[in-house]
C-alpha cells in the first residue's frame, strides 16, 4: 500500500462528506428494513414449520437471515461504489486525469478507491451489526468478525466491477450489472435460505460468485459453527476475486490514463 492510495482515499472522503445523508439510507436503513420485514413476517411463518429448524441448522429464521443481510448489503454497496464514481473520475468530472498529472499513479487511484470502499463497507456493516446486537435473537459475538468479512465481500465485487467500469464507454452497462448480477445473487446467493433449496445447476452458479462464501462464513461466525480452516478456505476464494479485480483495474486504468 502506498501513501498515495491514502491520499486518494482522502479525496473520496471529501466527496462523500457532501452526500453522506443520501447514502445513509441505502447502506444502513435498507438492510434493517429487510431484516424487520423478513425476520418478523417471513420468520414467523418459517419458524412455525417444524422441518425448517433442521434446514436452517437449528437457528431461528431471523438469526439465519441476519448475517446474510449484513453481507449482501456490503455486496450491493461495493458494486454501486465502483460504477458511476469511476466513470465520473474518467469522463465526467475527470478527477482521475487530474490525479494522473501529479506524482501519483494508476495504482494509487485504484488502491485508494479500494481503501475507501472497504471503509464504507466496514462502516455500513458495523452499523447493521450494532442494530443486530440490539435484538436477542440476532445478538452474537460472531457479529464482530462478520464485519471484516463484509468488507472483503464488498471488495470482491467492487474491484472486478471497477476494472469493468474503467473500460466501459457508457453507463448503460451499470444498470445491467445491477439487474443481472447483483439482484439475482441477492435473491439466489444463499442469504435468505440455504442453497440446498435450489436446483443443483443454480447452486453451482451461486457458489461460483464470492457472495455465498462470505455469507456462510459470516453465518458460521454468528451461529458459532465456523471452523477456522473452513472459514479461511472460503475467505481465500473471496480475497482472490478482490485481488484479481484490483490487478485488472490497475492495468486497465494505466492504459486509459497514460495513452
Amino acid at each position: 500500500m502506498t501513501t498515495g492510495a491514502f491520499r486518494v482515499a482522502g479525496w473520496h472522503l471529501a466527496l462523500y462528506r457532501r452526500l453522506w445523508r443520501m447514502n445513509l439510507l441505502s447502506s444502513f436503513v435498507q438492510p434493517l428494513m429487510y431484516l424487520l420485514g423478513l425476520g418478523v413476517g417471513v420468520g414467523a411463518l418459517v419458524d412455525r414449520n417444524s422441518a425448517s429448524g433442521a434446514t436452517l441448522g437449528g437457528a431461528s429464521y431471523v438469526a439465519f437471515v441476519a448475517p446474510g443481510l449484513l453481507i449482501t448489503a456490503a455486496m450491493a454497496l461495493g458494486a454501486i461504489e465502483s460504477m458511476w464514481s469511476v466513470m465520473g473520475g474518467l469522463k465526467w468530472q475527470r478527477g482521475y486525469h487530474g490525479i494522473a498529472a501529479t506524482p501519483l499513479e494508476a495504482r494509487d487511484i485504484v488502491l485508494g478507491h479500494g481503501v475507501w470502499i472497504a471503509v464504507r463497507c466496514g462502516l455500513s456493516a458495523t452499523a447493521v451489526a450494532a442494530a443486530l446486537a440490539y435484538f436477542p435473537d440476532t445478538r452474537s459475538w460472531g457479529l464482530l468478525p462478520a464485519v471484516p468479512v463484509a468488507m472483503l465481500v464488498g471488495l470482491s465485487f467492487a474491484m472486478p466491477i471497477m476494472a469493468f467500469s474503467i473500460n466501459t464507454e457508457t453507463d448503460g452497462a451499470f444498470a445491467a450489472i445491477q439487474r443481472f448480477v447483483i439482484i439475482p445473487l441477492f435473491l439466489f446467493g444463499g442469504a435468505f435460505y440455504p442453497l440446498s433449496q435450489l436446483p443443483v445447476g443454480v447452486q453451482w452458479i451461486a457458489k461460483a460468485a464470492p457472495l455465498w462464501h462470505g455469507v456462510i462464513v459470516a453465518r458460521g461466525f454468528t451461529t458459532h459453527s465456523a471452523g477456522a480452516l473452513w472459514a479461511v478456505g472460503h475467505l481465500a476464494y473471496v480475497v482472490a476475486f478482490a485481488f484479481a479485480g484490483t490487478t485488472l483495474a490497475v492495468r486497465n486504468l494505466r492504459r486509459k490514463l497514460y495513452s
Binding site: 491520499r7 471529501a14 466527496l15 468530472q93 475527470r94 478527477g95 487530474g98 501529479t102
Partner: protein, 308 residues
C-alpha cells in the same frame, strides 16, 4: 547560462495508424514562455501530454529536467504544473478544498497546503470565493482555479493546454495578466493555443505546428518579419464575387491570398496597395489596412486559416 528544461529530438506519437506528432525537435529554456501554435488536430495536445508525462513517447527522445519520462514520470510530474484543456476540478467541492486536496497529492502537509492555498487564492483573485462550490463559478473563475491548483506544488514549469479557449475577452485578459506575472516570477511557461493574439501576448518563442510537424520556429516578431509583409490589406467584395475579382488585384503588393470571405493583399505599404486597387477601378465593399499578424504567417505556411 541557460538550462534546457525540455529537449525533444525526432519526437513521434502514433495512435495505431494515425501519426499525431511526426518527428518534432523542440528545446525550451528555463524562464522562457514557449508556445505551440496550430489548428485543431495539429498535434499540440499530444505533444503536451508527452511533456506532461501522461502519454508514452512512440519514438525519438524526450528529456524533461534532463530526466526520461519513461523511467522518471513521477519525479518529473512532481516538478510540473499542468492546466489541462478540460478542467478536472472537483465541481461539487469548494474552491479551497480543491486546492488542499491537490496539494496532498504532492505530499504537502495539511498546514502547508492550506498556507499555499491561501496565497494562490489571492493570486487567482478568488479569495472571496474560497468557500464557494466550484460548480457555481463562472468559466473564467474555474480556469483561474485550475491554474491556481496547478501551482500548488510550486512547479518549475507550467504546461497550459489552450488556457483561454471558450472564455470571454475580459476573462482572457485577466488570465493573461496572471500568466505574465508568473513568467516574471521565473516560472517557465509552455502553452498551446490556436489564438494568434494569445501567442503574441504571451510567448517569447513559438513553433507553428501543422499535421504533426513543426513548420516554423521563432519569436512572434521574427516569424512575422520572415514570413509576411509589414502590412496587410483586407478587401471584401460583394458576396460571391471574391473569386471572380481576385485575379484583378494580381500584381498589387507582394502576394495575394483568396479566402472564402475576403481577399488579402500583402504589402509593406497597405495604403498604397489600396490606392492601386482603386486605380484599377475595383470597388470593394470594405477595405482594411492592418499590421501583419501570426495568422498571416500561419496562412502562408499551411495554406489554411487557424479556424479550419
Amino acid at each position: 547560462m541557460t538550462e534546457s528544461l525540455i529537449v525533444a529530438r525526432q519526437l513521434v506519437k502514433r495512435f495505431g495508424e494515425f501519426t499525431a506528432v511526426d518527428g518534432i525537435d523542440v528545446e525550451v529554456q528555463r524562464g522562457e514562455a514557449f508556445g505551440f501554435l496550430g489548428p485543431n488536430g495539429a498535434g499540440k495536445s499530444s505533444t503536451m501530454r508527452m511533456i506532461g508525462c501522461v502519454s508514452p513517447v512512440t519514438s525519438g527522445s524526450l528529456r524533461l529536467f534532463g530526466l526520461d519520462p519513461a523511467t522518471h514520470g513521477a519525479q518529473i510530474r512532481r516538478r510540473l504544473g499542468v492546466v489541462p484543456q478540460l478542467d478536472t476540478l472537483d465541481t461539487e467541492l469548494t474552491v479551497q478544498e480543491n486546492l488542499w486536496l491537490y496539494g496532498r497529492y504532492f505530499d504537502l502537509s495539511r498546514s502547508e497546503a492550506k498556507r499555499r492555498a491561501k496565497e494562490l487564492l489571492e493570486f487567482a483573485q478568488l479569495a472571496d470565493r474560497a468557500d464557494s462550490i466550484v460548480d457555481h463559478l463562472s468559466g473564467g473563475m474555474k480556469r483561474r482555479l485550475s491554474i491556481a491548483r496547478s501551482l500548488i506544488n510550486e512547479p518549475e514549469m507550467l504546461l497550459l493546454d489552450e488556457p483561454t479557449t471558450g472564455l470571454d475577452p475580459q476573462a482572457r485578459h485577466v488570465l493573461w495578466d496572471r500568466l505574465y506575472r508568473l513568467k516574471q516570477q521565473g516560472v517557465t511557461l509552455v502553452l498551446t493555443t490556436h489564438y494568434m493574439d494569445e501567442a503574441e501576448q504571451l510567448c517569447d518563442r513559438l513553433v507553428v505546428m501543422d499535421q504533426g510537424k513543426i513548420v516554423a520556429e521563432g519569436s512572434p516578431r521574427e516569424l512575422i518579419d520572415r514570413y509576411s509583409t509589414r502590412e496587410v490589406l483586407e478587401l471584401r467584395f460583394t458576396a460571391g464575387t471574391n473569386e471572380a475579382l481576385a485575379p484583378q488585384v494580381q500584381g498589387i503588393g507582394e502576394r495575394q491570398e483568396l479566402l472564402p470571405d475576403r481577399v488579402l493583399v500583402y504589402a509593406d505599404d497597405g495604403e498604397a496597395a489600396l490606392a492601386a486597387t482603386h486605380a484599377r477601378g475595383l470597388q470593394p465593399e470594405s477595405a482594411l489596412v492592418r499590421r501583419s499578424s501570426l495568422e498571416d504567417v500561419f496562412l502562408l505556411l499551411t495554406g489554411r486559416t487557424l479556424a479550419d
